[in-house]
């Protein structure tokens, strides 16, 4: 079974998928493995594993600080691949996507990176600064190894861009709920339903919504619009403070998403 297959299956369980995010190497290498394991045990259908980058321009303060700490710990893209492999060895079988910026991937080498990612058990990639127009080389490498390359849509996306992304995105489409960077917000954006409807009109592929979702009630509201709910900053904030509190939030989110 390829990564694309495993991700597709995660969206075919008859309930909305819960996809929590964690920064690899934060608060440190071992602790981050425990964080991911905890998220998997709390009922994650998919895992989004953040790869640190020095200049994360799509991220808000919480993830900026966490990825910065991870870099200070010496985390490299190679380490992130090794950590994913270690999680698989520990029996974490949840489909996993690496989320990271394009420059470290280019430095690693696009083809060798995707080959190694597939080998260690990475199922998909999310690269926020790589729109489909610039993604040919990475898309070819992913296709060769059955790794899903997931593209994003935003509330500003036009009908033409929606068409392009729904054609190119594999496994699911990542809908950025708001115009802005990552980080928990107080309310679900009022125009989210319209945005989702515009995308839904153009595709039957699973739609997962992320950015700004931080509690069970928001997760519940968003789950009524989508096939998947992605939560990052709110969990990352707790990852270094208390694993118990993070587990509690993950379970609250899981319950909000419904099962």
């Amino acid at each position: 079974m390829t990564g694309i297959d495993r991700i597709t299956k995660a969206f075919s369980k008859g309930h909305v998928a819960f996809m929590p995010y964690a920064v690899l190497g934060y608060p440190d290498r071992q602790a981050s493995l425990a964080v991911v394991q905890t998220l998997a045990e709390a009922g994650a259908d998919l895992l989004e594993l953040g790869v640190p980058f020095s200049d994360p321009l799509a991220d808000g303060p919480t993830i900026q600080a966490a990825t910065q700490k991870s870099l200070e710990n010496g985390t490299t893209l190679k380490d992130c691949l090794a950590m994913t492999g270690e999680l698989r060895q520990r029996g974490v079988n949840t489909p996993a996507l690496l989320m990271g910026y394009i420059n470290p991937i280019m430095a690693f080498g696009i083809a060798p990176f995707v080959a190694e990612a597939a080998t260690v058990g990475v199922d998909g990639l999310i690269v926020p600064d790589l729109p489909p127009e610039e993604a040919d080389e990475l898309a070819d490498a992913c296709a060769k190894h059955g790794v899903a390359l997931v593209f994003l849509l935003a509330p500003t996306s036009t009908a033409e861009r929606i068409q392009l992304v729904v054609e190119k995105s594999q496994g699911f489409i990542y809908l950025v709920s708001l115009t802005g960077v990552t980080g928990a917000r107080r309310d679900v954006p009022p125009d989210l339903a319209d945005f989702v409807a515009r995308v839904r009109a153009q595709t039957d592929k699973p739609l997962a919504i992320g950015f700004g979702i931080g509690n069970g009630e928001q997760a519940r509201q968003v789950s009524q619009l989508a096939n998947g709910v992605i939560v990052g900053s709110a969990l990352v904030k707790l990852a270094a403070e208390s694993l118990d509190n993070m587990r509690a939030l993950a379970m609250e989110l899981r319950a909000g998403v419904g099962k």
């Binding site: 420059n103 280019m106 036009t158 802005g180």
Partner: protein, 402 residues
């Protein structure tokens, strides 16, 4: 020489940005293409450049410097006397006019040395636009007069405390702001960097420098110069000077990067400097990569993290370089070298004392290269050096070093 495909210079350039910004870039590209072809827009910009900025800026013969160095005749293109004291105003006014046409009432900008921030704040004051400028904390400390100038001009200066707290981090924050407020905000990027159409658009707005210089040197000397020299941070003043001369094959061009404490020290911002041979793993090396929406050469660690660069001049302290520069270097059309902090300070002193012109630390990098080259060139040859800005903003740094 034209880029092969839209938005690309050879393999460099492109649009590496979050999806949220892709529609805004398309909107900007369309608006710019229409404005570029619109005589009313061009007339309005030309009128402002003449009556407000004070263009054309002079081309000054540097007689005493020429005699002192004993070689080629040196001319100085005087962007330092443009309103606000640097070439940055050319682009800031052009983009602010465009933003107004696009109905965007709010401007965000980044600044390193503060000259682009001041240029943006000035253009916004003139045209009645709201202006927010992001500036790294390190740069705010070393360019204090410009912080106060921006505030006096009505702009809000937001300190950036993340990363290296310099220009690159200011750009990160400006992009984050733009992603958040994209519907009513124009990002007034200050150099030939970033995603398409910025490298092309900023070059076009700065190309007035070279168009003027070409006409001025022909009037003064009756023939084209043998060599052009300009400093290269992101690369807007150099591209502005060079662009009009690109078809003139006999005109050589040198871009001068920030050599900082020397290439072997690892504390510099010379993206095109040849790698030093060393048995130990280098802390940073220039490789093809992506930063701030464009593919170009970037100083980075072996793991692909963007390196923290160093230069005595905030405006050259940046790990990447405009994609058109990378392409023209590959084409062999422009050559690149660097000047160290020490050479730069010596150049400031020499130009000040022989010509009565205190150059910005950025521009003094070009002067430092002129000092090296002039004695090796024949007396009947001609050199044009771009004095991209004046040094008033750098007095604190100069006082502590000279």
């Amino acid at each position: 020489m034209m880029p092969q495909t839209k938005g690309k210079f050879g393999t460099y350039g492109g649009q590496f940005v979050p999806e949220t910004l892709m529609p805004a870039l398309a909107e900007l590209e369309t608006a710019y293409e229409i404005a570029k072809a619109d005589q009313n827009f061009q007339a309005e910009l030309s009128h402002l450049l003449k009556t407000y900025v004070g263009r054309p800026t002079p081309l000054s013969f540097a007689k005493r410097l020429t005699n002192h160095l004993g070689g080629t005749k040196i001319y100085l293109k005087r962007e330092d006397v443009a309103h606000t004291g640097a070439h940055k105003i050319n682009n800031a006014l052009g983009q602010a006019l465009l933003a107004k046409r696009m109905g965007k009432p709010r401007i965000v900008a980044e600044t390193g040395a503060g000259q682009h921030g001041v240029g943006s704040a000035t253009a916004c004051a003139l045209l009645g636009l709201q202006c927010v400028v992001y500036m790294g904390e390190v740069d705010m400390a070393r360019q204090r007069p410009n912080v106060f100038r921006m505030q006096l001009l009505g702009a809000e200066v937001r300190a950036v405390g993340s990363g290296s707290r310099t220009l690159k981090d200011a750009i990160n924050e400006a992009i984050r702001d733009w992603v958040t407020n994209v519907r009513d905000t124009h990002y007034l990027l200050g150099s030939v960097l970033g995603p398409h159409p910025y490298p092309t658009m900023v070059r076009d707005f700065q190309s007035v420098i070279g168009l003027e210089a070409r006409a001025q040197i022909l009037e003064a000397e009756g023939h084209l110069p043998d060599l052009l020299i300009a400093c290269v941070g992101g690369g807007s003043n150099s591209m502005g000077l060079f662009h009009a001369f690109l078809p003139d094959q006999a005109v050589a061009m040198v871009g001068v990067e920030a050599g900082g404490c020397g290439i072997e020290s690892g504390k510099h911002a010379a993206r095109f400097a040849p790698p030093i041979s060393s048995n130990s793993r280098p802390m940073m090396e220039a490789r093809l990569g992506v930063l701030h929406g464009t593919k170009s050469y970037i100083l980075q660690t072996p793991d692909g993290q963007i390196a923290e660069t160093h230069s005595i001049s905030a405006g050259l302290d940046y790990p990447s370089v405009g994609p058109e520069h990378a392409w023209l270097r590959d084409e062999g059309r422009i050559s690149y070298t660097y000047a160290t902090d020490t050479e730069t300070l010596a150049a400031v002193k020499l130009l000040s004392q022989l010509e009565g012109i205190i150059p910005a630390l950025e521009s003094a990098h070009a002067v430092a290269e002129a000092i090296k080259r002039a004695p090796t060139m024949p007396r009947d040859s001609l050199m044009v050096v771009n004095i991209s800005g004046r040094g008033d903003k750098d007095l604190d740094t100069m006082i502590s070093h000279l």
